[in-house]
Structure formats: structure tokens, C-alpha cells
Symmetry: C2
């Protein structure tokens, strides 16, 4: 057998996949991460110092707070094309159980339709399961039900909010 | 004027309100807190050591993780009648904004209809606002929409979940 399946090629690191999914890094202040978030919500730019402070606060949570980013390694400039966040909530119920919360999933408008968001969300689901969470949850608009169903999510309730 | 309004009596600490709302304490392993949570979700009892470990993990989060309990000071035994949790999520968006998440609100079946849950949720909303959160959110069943509307919550989206 000389043929190579895509899986074995990927396992051997021989994949040509131009998308690299990794954890957010301090250097991502320069790769458009905050600008990408502005496609989801109001998001004024942060100074390098402000970014570093928040990064350090979240990094202190270790694997209880994971931000993944998808980087296009073929782009001339290092740019983030998609992101998603998982944080782990520790509870007293369920025998001291843990719940994964998915937040701030966004794909750059010019990079949609390539499955980047789904790849990130699926990875976050794996991380939550491997961390021993008994469930992973997220809130979304009704139009996104089918999108998240592709990652195994089912509708469970309603999200309520107070804005200050 | 010799009459005393309920407000001024409360301000002077002269209230006869038998309900004391306070933060969860390590000693609440003995006051029925875990048993109360079992009215909300599967909740096997925790040993004193397991309870202390989880308590310490959450206490390390300081004011970013607050569990309130309502204690009936007139009961023969010290018992928790209601509880609710708030944790603060720190984000990069909204200028490094913060979001309050309400979790695990439960009122003892024998103490419902006294407004204990509403008092706890309203207090959690105040804490989130005072902490500088730009919003506070929670997930609930559709039947509880009107309940949380009494605390100012409006429906914003759908909750999706994967159970492992």
C-alpha cells in the first residue's frame, strides 16, 4: 500500500490545510483578533497594555478558559479568520460537576462558508468533554439553531438578559 | 413623628425580617445547601472534604464568583431556604467588558411563594451592575420567563446544549 489517506497524511503532519487552529496568544493583539470580535458586538480597540492585562487575567484561569483562533497560514499577513471561547464553570451540584460555556464565536465575513466556525466549536466541545464537563452550553439567536445542531447541540431553554 | 416606616426600621437594623441573605460559607456543608440544589438537578451529597475543595476553588475567584443563600433565622435548625449564583465573565469585546451569568437559582419547595428567589436574583443583578458588567444573563425554561421578567430580564435568544 503506497496510497495515503487524508487522515494518515494529517497524522503525519503532511496536510496542506492552510488553517491552523490554536489557542489565543499575547501576540494576537497584532493579528486582528479584536477587530474580528467587532463583527459580533461593539468592540472598541484595546491598547497593547489593555490587551495584555485581560490576556493575563484569563491565562491565569489555565485550561478553565480557552480561546481558540483559526489562522490562515497562506495569507500574506498573519490574520485571525475565526474564533470561539470556552470557559469551565465549577459547580456544587452533579457531585461537584463542571459545565462548559461557549461564548464569542465569530467568523470573519470574508471567510464564511469554509466551516471554520464549526471546526472551532467542535474543538471546544471536545475540550469540554475531555475536561470532564457533564454538558456544554451556549446562547444564540434562533436562526443559528441549525448551525449549532451540526455540532450536536439541541435546544434546551431560553436565554434571558438585563442590559445595564 | 413616632411612627417608623419599614424602610427606616430596616435601615436601623430593627427589621423583623426572618430571612437573612448572605454569601455561602464553608459551614454551609451542614445547612442543607447541597440537598437544596438536589431540587434543581442531580446532586449527590459531597463529603466535607469535597465541599471544602470546591468552596476553596470558587472562593479563589473572589467577587467574580458569588453564591448567595437565604437563611431562615427563625428555624430551629440553621437551614438554607434558597440560593442563586453569579459569576463574572471577562471578555475582550466591549472594551474589555464583563458579563454576569446567573446559575443555579433554587428555592426550597416548602418555602416557595415568599419571594425568596426574587430577592436573591435581584441582589445578584445589583452585584453584577455594581461590578461593572454591561449585562447579566441566565438560561431558564420557557415557563420561567414571567418569573425572571419581575427582575427586569427580557428574552434574548435560545439556549443550546450538548450533554456528555
Amino acid at each position: 500500500m503506497t496510497s495515503t489517506s487524508p487522515e494518515s497524511a494529517a497524522a503525519a503532519g503532511e496536510t496542506n490545510d492552510p488553517i491552523h487552529i490554536r489557542r489565543l496568544d499575547l501576540s494576537d493583539h497584532e493579528t486582528g483578533f479584536v477587530a474580528l470580535l467587532s463583527q459580533l458586538s461593539a468592540c472598541p480597540d484595546l491598547t497593547a497594555s489593555e490587551f495584555a492585562t485581560r490576556f493575563a487575567e484569563l491565562a491565569a484561569q489555565g485550561d478553565d478558559h480557552v480561546i481558540l483562533v483559526a489562522e490562515d497560514t497562506t495569507a500574506r499577513e498573519q490574520r485571525i479568520r475565526a474564533t470561539g471561547c470556552l470557559f469551565v464553570e465549577r459547580k456544587f451540584l452533579r457531585g461537584g460537576g463542571k459545565v462548559g460555556h461557549v461564548e464569542d464565536v465569530v467568523v470573519d465575513a470574508a471567510s464564511r462558508g469554509r466551516g471554520l466556525g464549526l471546526r472551532i466549536v467542535r474543538r471546544l466541545v471536545e475540550i469540554a468533554r475531555d475536561a470532564g464537563c457533564y454538558k456544554i452550553i451556549l446562547d444564540c439567536t434562533p436562526e443559528l439553531r441549525a448551525y449549532y445542531a451540526k455540532c450536536g447541540f439541541v435546544e434546551k431553554g431560553v436565554q434571558m438578559a438585563v442590559y445595564f
